[in-house]
Amino acid sequence: MWGMVRRELARSSGGEYVLVHQQEQHGVRQVHEDNSANGNQHRGFSMSSDDDMIDITTTGTVTERSIHYDDPGTSHLPGVTYCMGDGEGESLCYQRTSILQHVAADGDEIPGIGQYEDFHTIDWQRDIARDRMRHRYIVKRRQNSLFDLVKGAHDAWSGWVCVLLVGLTTGVVAGVIDIGASWMSDLKYGICPSRFWFNREQCCWSSNETTSFETGNCSDWLTWSEVLGQSRTGAGAYIISYLMYIAWALLFASLAASLVRMFAPYACGSGIPEIKTILSGFIIRGYLGKWTLIIKSVGIMLSVSAGLSLGKEGPMVHIACCIGNILSYLFPKYGRNEAKKREILSAAAAAGVSVAFGAPIGGVLFSLEEVSYYFPLKTLWRSFFCALVAAFVLHSINPFGNEHSVLFFVEYNNPWIFFELVPFVGLGIIGGVIAAIFIRANLYWCKYRKTSKLGQYPVTEVLIVTAVTAVLAYPNPYTRMSTSELIYLLFRKCGVTNTDDLCDYNRNFTDVKSAVDLASAGPKVYRAMWLLVLALIFKLLATVFTFGIKVPCGLFIPSLCLGAIVGRIVGIGMEQLAFNYPHIWVFSGECSTMKDCITPGLYAMVGAAAVLGGVTRMTVSLVVVMFELTGGVRYIVPLMAAAMASKWVGDALGSHGVYDAHINLNGYPFLDSKEEFAHTSLAADVMQPKRNETLSVLTQDSMTVEDVETLMKETEHNGFPVVVSRESQYLVGFVLRRDLNLALAQARRAVEGLRPSSLVLFTSNSPQQPPQPGTPAPLLLKNILDMAPITITDQTPMETVVDMFRKLGLRQTLVTHNGRLLGVITKKDVLRYVKQLDNEDPNSVLFN
């Protein structure tokens, strides 16, 4: 962009600018400048008594000035790279004009102010202040006319309207995804010839034949072997079905991978780490865009149908956030203010979980506990409302025909006995161990993918993973069925009419009331257990390799499934123990009546919660989601015990949950508010510039346009402090590079007679000495100056500084000493410093 601006300048100002700088040796030019006009460009500390602390030598500045205290990951500052670098200047020029044209209707404010570049951190304080100003303006205007009154009212309720729309749309989209995914999944097995839009269950809906668990077939539903003219059973039919299963899986997976690659690469993965980062105040342009929404919705249907070991629940959060982002543009209050937009996104994330699990309250808590960063009470209520609306819409669509929004809804009302807490905690421990293994292995694999050649073949990788998954999954009925169905099967309690292997108990039905009593397990139960153990190993391995491939993929369902398998196995073990030894003390006689004493399905649920809790390190929201899934509050204590145990074990074995681990892996600038900062360093240790470096500052009334441009050209800082003068560096304010750029560009268009020698004034009045005749009119830029930057002193402990960054959502803070400006600490400096203290590579924080 800058290159363009310069060229334009050169044209407009008749070649007064001789921009040799780009061709010259960097260092030479700087030396020249340092020694010439602004010889005193370094800190004005020569007069103070702090000389021992701040070295004012000019040696060394030449090279070290190019170390930026606000370094935007080398090629991510579009304004610099595009125009100086790879010849894509015109794209940026275009973008810039579009921004200007777009916001030009805004009035006297310089268009584009308050927006951010891609991969930049937002300044919460500034955005919230902007919103407050806007709000005051509207309130003030309200008395003027009826129209303004209506406008004020519209402004007041627009937040609620926005979340209402988000909730409605999320519910509809979730319904579409649920129906589409279940239809496509069954396409792997066969087709309903009379009404092709039905899945197997719907196809057999009105058939009077009894469907069995293994095949689930009725005569209306044709398997592929029947379509191809074979019989329904037999070796030939099996082979054909097997091959068709693999073929469909490969087709779906390749479609998903290539759609993602072609249209919206940001649609891959789970999305929750990125949503967390975005909500913490980071800009990733296009991550919540329209194409991402479409491709993620379609892609998740395809990849779930491909039989991969992944779930659609995590991506549902991303989809909901996309909807929130798109709809927020209908309301300028939210669309144009990044901090306000994040309130809508928090509500949308709640709606996402709400539709994913049919758990509105769980969704709100998930948003609060896991994804959101800034969560005022107002947002809590809006999230609640949004989640409610979304759940209601999905419920009325009734995608699964079971009156619930999830396939694996179960209703439990069996009591549990006190001793069972021991196996529940045990399940929590197992869950924590499994989760830790999973996170370690997955992280290792993702790192390998990132650094090795494997990363160059994303589509091939998807196809290989799919092929292997399909080939291995088909022979085992428990892995062949969709993961949600398997979870349902494991959660379910064996009723009188369930005939699948897991319910093959030697019950006798002489007694009327003996519906679900304890019974010895039949041989099929043991067979099922072996298959489940194999399924557990397979799912664990498959998920390790699946999570991270370049298709939309979530982690909730696979983790739930792993836990449910373990839980069911433990549950059946306990049940048989109780059946065989009903009188030992642990059962305290409660099982002697042989009724309702151990429910393996409940163990499956607890196990599922344990593994999911270990993987994501959620606690409160997880328990709430789980009890909303089961429709009963009776199991809160077991679920809490398991979730807590698994969190402890997980924390002991590996420090991060999977989302935080992925945030670390990718180096997103996420300042975790969960971690404590326990070092005794001071702000002066972290502050930039370091010793021997100079601080780039603007002065309030003594720099010319040319000086400012030179400064911006030579540095890549994203903002500049404004001081009274170089001699007395008393702080006036802070100005962002982007705003400065925009304001200068605007001035170049609008202001007549702007010369490179025009003074740039950040004050409201003219400088002390009256302008001599002949000098051009000064450029007033006070409106872009942030007069209230957050400042600290150099002796502030870093603990406090980190807390300020977390709680106030700062982008940078200025460090002063004796009232004079000393340096700057940006969010990136803090992140780097934290990484350094953790003995990690500080350069892995990529973006600004």
Partner: protein, 191 residues
């Protein structure tokens, strides 16, 4: 493109609300009961000896007594043990076939549209753009700057719209290319 997608979503929303308003749901009451005659009372149950009975779609009347018993023959009823109904599992379910149909058809449409567009971008677009690209690069930055107003006046409204669409598309393509570079080449995101 966006209009089309927006229309589709509006259409879905419309259909959804419209259909839920109508009482178009097909409901069923499904009862699973042991097939008759029942096994001997002390014999343990094996296998799938179950029979489905489907009856009146009235949620309050979805019980074994209301659905299954009327369907049994007199001979069966005569030998019916008292615990027969206890061992029946009756469930009331409903669904909405219209929603399923509409949704699945829309999903098929969206996927086919996307696939067609993808094939177009892969196969035809490079051929078409080869020509365009050559005179596109002649547009220097200055032209870009003024292109919004100046150039479009000369051409007709039609080409203006086309231009804008083309411009949007180019912009979008660049964004996607950038995303692809971030993810697939540099591996800086979404690993």
């Amino acid at each position: 493109m966006w209009m089309k997608i927006a229309l589709i979503f509006v259409f879905v929303a419309f259909v959804v609300t419209n259909v839920t308003a109508q009482i178009d749901n097909d409901a069923r009451c499904k009862c699973l009961c042991p097939s008759l005659p029942l096994p001997e009372s002390n014999e343990t149950r094996k296998g799938n000896q179950f029979k489905q009975y489907k009856g009146d779609p009235d949620p309050s009347q979805c019980t074994c007594r209301d659905v299954v018993l009327p369907k049994l023959s007199d001979a069966e009823k005569a030998g019916l043990p008292p615990e027969f109904c206890v061992r029946c599992d009756c469930k009331y379910e409903n669904r909405n076939t219209t929603i399923i149909k509409v949704v699945v058809i829309i999903v098929i449409w969206i996927i086919s549209l996307l696939v067609v567009y993808m094939l177009f971008l892969i196969c035809l677009d490079p051929l078409l753009n080869k020509r365009v690209q050559s005179n596109y690069t002649e547009h220097t930055n200055e032209d870009e700057m003024s292109g919004g107003e100046g150039v479009s006046h000369a051409m007709g409204v039609r080409s203006n719209v086309l231009n804008r669409v083309g411009h949007q598309q180019d912009k979008w393509k660049r964004q996607v290319r950038e995303q692809r570079r971030n993810i697939y080449d540099r591996h800086t995101m979404l690993n």
